[in-house]
């Protein structure tokens, strides 16, 4: 049984992510960790925009906040978001990785170390290679690796980079991702 879902996305992922979040049941049994590239000077608005559609509550976590099931955690703008081994969020302003802060690689890598084979990692549409190494780590540590079908992505760079570096478990359309997550319920 899985214990957490981590999702990374960039250009072209906003509609996908809102569709996913609006399809989850209110009592979704896992936490959803979200690392999405975003404008660094726009501190507010994004979490509100996601929350409008989402059935589960979405927060920009405080540092060292305890991760709880049925809740979404969005990496705040201009911070990296790490998952500590004790299942708490840790934030960081260290140098950008892949020109990105938050970096999807760092959230995925630390989530993989915290959740090992109990993690589902999903890479969505995006315009750079961030996330490819992170998804590889998820797979290496026994987690499940899913990539959005590049044919469906507005921008394919990110999903194609992930497919190149990792033997993923599934290549899914948005609807298939949703169906998969709904089945986690049982």
């Amino acid at each position: 049984m899985y214990k957490a879902v981590v999702i990374g996305g960039s250009a072209g992922s906003f509609q996908v992510i809102t569709k996913i979040l609006s399809s989850l049941p209110k009592n979704f049994p896992l936490p959803v960790l979200l690392c999405l590239h975003r404008l660094k000077h726009v501190r507010s608005g994004f979490v509100e925009a996601l929350s409008i559609k989402s059935t589960i509550p979405i927060v920009e976590p405080f540092d060292k906040e305890t991760i709880k099931p049925g809740k979404g955690y969005l990496a705040p703008s201009n911070y990296h978001m790490y998952i500590e081994l004790n299942k708490r969020i840790a934030l960081s302003t260290e140098e950008p990785v892949n020109h990105s802060r938050p970096s999807i690689d760092l959230t995925f890598e630390t989530a993989a170390q915290a959740y090992r084979d109990k993690l589902v990692g999903i890479i969505l549409s995006g315009a750079n290679r961030d996330g490819a190494l992170g998804l590889k780590k998820v797979k290496q540590l026994g987690g499940l690796a899913i990539v959005q079908d590049p044919n469906e992505c507005q921008v394919k760079t990110m999903t194609e980079a992930s497919l190149k570096s990792t033997q993923v478990d599934h290549i899914f359309t948005t609807q298939q991702i949703i169906n998969f997550l709904l089945n986690l319920k049982e």
């Binding site: 501190r43 405080f62 540092d63 705040p76 790490y82 500590e84 840790a90 934030l91 302003t93 140098e95």
Partner: protein, 276 residues
């Protein structure tokens, strides 16, 4: 290329060495962060693995200083979060100045100095620079020297300038730095009133009678034990009614903490020490 990955036992050995040899205790740093800093340091200096790191660092004090510098995360930019600096300029600082003609401002980990220079510029604009005494602590001697020399990364000019223009529109940040053959340098007279303190991780000697503390995005690198210890140290340093500013996504939360501090600005994370 795959990077060397620091395991849990490696982390423990590294922490033990730093403690035994230099009396610096990193055990209450946030684990993912500390692991990453050591890994990046090992890669940067081609030390191969944890044993390579330990062998090199235990015999070389200068090398240890380089490590301390790398543990201090570079502040990302000048005037990070311009909306906070507007509140400081329009509200917090003027009210400090009304209460007393001289006031102490403390930076418990000044890191690469952007917060210090930003604050100095705000005070200069308000004609209050000579009324303030800055105290800047850091675990890194090398960073302190760098701050005193005033050189900074030219790559950051653009974001620094743009942040400044979100706070002040009557002049530009370039009034406060010069370009010297490819290097950019702050006007170091801005920090003439600064007392620098090289510190261990836990303070043995900390300032008293402080009116304002800026400690943003530093406690995120600590675990909750060390965070709480710092918040209590800062409580003792502040005068009643003194102000503590922490990072956007940080909060003060320990048993009975609401008896010590009041949150006065929820968005900018500004706290006030309660009157006894």
């Amino acid at each position: 290329m795959t990077r060397f990955e620091l395991g849990i036992i490696d982390s423990r050995n590294v922490i033990k060495t730093l403690h035994d040899v230099y009396n610096y205790d990193f055990k209450n740093y946030a684990l993912t962060f500390f692991k990453r800093r050591v890994e990046l340091f090992i890669a940067k200096y081609n030390l191969k693995d944890a044993d390579g790191f330990i062998r090199k660092i235990e015999n070389d004090k200068d090398f240890f200083e380089l490590f301390l510098q790398d543990v201090c995360v570079e502040t990302t930019e000048m005037f990070r979060d311009p909306s906070l600096w507007r509140v400081l300029k329009e509200d917090i600082i003027p009210s400090l100045a009304r209460e007393s003609s001289h006031f102490k401002i403390w930076f418990p980990e000044v890191s690469t100095g952007e917060e210090l220079y930003s604050m100095a510029i705000i005070l200069k604009k308000l004609n209050l620079l000579s009324n303030a005494q800055f105290i800047a602590s850091s675990i890194s001697e090398l960073n302190i020297e760098k701050i005193k020399n005033g050189y900074f990364d030219p790559k950051k000019i653009e974001v620094n300038d743009s942040n400044y223009s979100r706070i002040f529109t009557d002049d530009t940040l370039s009034n406060y730095y010069t370009n010297e053959n490819e290097k950019v340098r702050w006007d170091t007279s801005l920090i003439d009133n600064t007392k620098f303190l090289k510190q261990n991780i836990i303070f043995d000697d900390y300032p008293k009678g402080v009116k304002l503390i800026l400690f943003r995005n530093q406690m995120i690198y600590y675990n909750q034990i060390l965070q709480e210890r710092f918040i209590k140290i800062m409580y003792n340093c502040l005068v009643p009614g003194g102000v503590l500013v922490i990072g956007n996504n940080e909060k003060i939360e320990y048993w009975n903490s609401e008896k010590d501090y009041t949150l006065i600005d929820k968005t900018e994370r500004i706290y006030k020490k309660k009157l006894a």
